[in-house]
């Protein structure tokens, strides 16, 4: 019996490695799930990109669900995501808030002018301080926040039509039922 222990241990390892190969073909291994899901969104107060005099805060957004999409003009993957948002952004049924992350306002404006603007409003976080409270560690990232200001869902990386269909839309439908 004890002579076969090493073999048994090794078979467990093989199982683990097999799982690892399978898992990593399905998940981006660099993805770090947010601990903020189900928790109140952090307080924020950020200026509008187009009108820095006005600010948008968590309180001003309460009452209806909305989707925050972190993007930046320097972000290559955001360019991949952009056509998807252009096509599907308006069909989601919730306001789409662009979150311009660590970006020069002129660059962001030029970028939106060139590629089109899918957002209902764009807030700018040039220093990136508020993004830390949201646990942002790259772009694009998206947060779905419900009417009570709770973060319900986070997507790391670019949205694809499949992800929107499979994950985002059912959840939005649910949020709408919660807060008519």
């Amino acid at each position: 019996m004890s002579r076969s222990l090493p073999l048994i241990g090794f078979l467990l390892l093989v199982g683990l490695f097999g799982f690892g190969i399978w898992w990593n073909t399905r998940h981006d291994p660099r993805e770090v799930p947010s601990p903020l899901i189900g928790k109140p969104a952090p307080e924020f107060s950020l200026p509008l990109l187009d009108d820095p005099g006005k600010t948008v805060s968590k309180t001003s957004m309460l009452g209806k669900p909305y989707l925050v999409n972190v993007f930046a003009s320097w972000c290559i993957a955001c360019g991949e995501e952009h056509p998807v948002l252009m096509a599907e952004g308006r069909t989601l049924g919730v306001p789409l808030v662009g979150y311009d992350y660590k970006d020069a306002p002129e660059d962001a404006k030029a970028w939106l002018a060139r590629h089109g603007n899918p957002y209902d409003m764009v807030i700018a976080d040039q220093p990136g301080r508020t993004a830390i409270d949201f646990g942002v560690y790259g772009a694009p990232e998206s947060f779905l926040i419900d009417a009570k200001g709770t973060i319900r869902y986070k997507h790391i990386g670019p949205f694809t039509p499949e992800v929107i269909e499979r994950e985002l839309k059912p959840l939005i439908a649910q949020l709408k039922q919660e807060a008519p």
């Binding site: 981006d28 660099r30 993805e31 770090v32 799930p33 947010s34 601990p35 903020l36 320097w74 972000c75 290559i76 993957a77 955001c78 991949e80 660590k102 970006d103 020069a104 040039q126 990136g128 301080r129 830390i132 409270d133 949201f134 646990g135 560690y137 790259g138 772009a139 694009p140 990232e141 790391i156 990386g157 670019p158 694809t160």
Partner: protein
């Protein structure tokens, strides 16, 4: 504002689409077989206005225990990623506010999960990690003890053999 590229070439702060990893990444595979690769090309040198040297040392120790989320094989102290720099300054700011190391760690865990801690906290999910080695040691020790007892009992029964062995070899090597 120049964001540059925070760590190894193609791995920026972008969350790249999983299907479209650039070919350049394959080149980095070289680092995988070499034993020592946990490095970005440029390093993070970040002079901050510390109160005194003790605080500087405390800062260095703390940021070394925190993991960078962008270049995930680097710690906050060494990473040149933009976010790492932001988080270093955040840690520095919290330190100036008089927060303890544990409070600062909790601050980051609240936002980025336990993943940021290179020193995983002891909790049911990590029991295997923390107590596994002790378990190996206990099992091994039981085996070793049993072996030594068995063999020493054998030695007592056939004591001639032990004596002969030592005498006959002369140079006991």
């Amino acid at each position: 504002m120049n964001h540059g590229v925070p760590c190894r070439s193609a791995l920026g702060r972008d969350h790249a689409a999983s299907g479209s990893r650039p070919r350049a990444l394959l080149q980095m595979l070289f680092a995988l077989f070499l034993a020592f690769s946990g490095a970005a090309n440029a390093q993070a040198i970040d002079p901050l206005p510390f109160k005194d040297h003790a605080q500087e040392v405390r800062f260095q120790n703390l940021t070394r225990q925190l993991r960078c989320l962008v270049c995930q094989n680097e710690n906050l102290a060494d990473s040149n990623a933009d976010l790492a720099r932001d988080l270093r300054h955040e840690v520095f700011g919290l330190m100036q506010q008089g927060k303890t190391d544990d409070q600062i760690k909790q601050y980051l865990v609240d936002r980025y999960s336990d993943f940021v801690l290179y020193d995983p906290p002891v909790k049911p999910a990590t029991w295997l990690l923390w107590f596994g080695p002790a378990l190996f040691l206990l099992m091994g020790a039981a085996l070793v003890l049993a072996t030594i007892r068995k063999r020493s009992r054998a030695a007592r029964i056939d004591s001639r053999l032990v004596d002969n062995a030592t005498i006959e070899q002369g140079d006991d090597w």
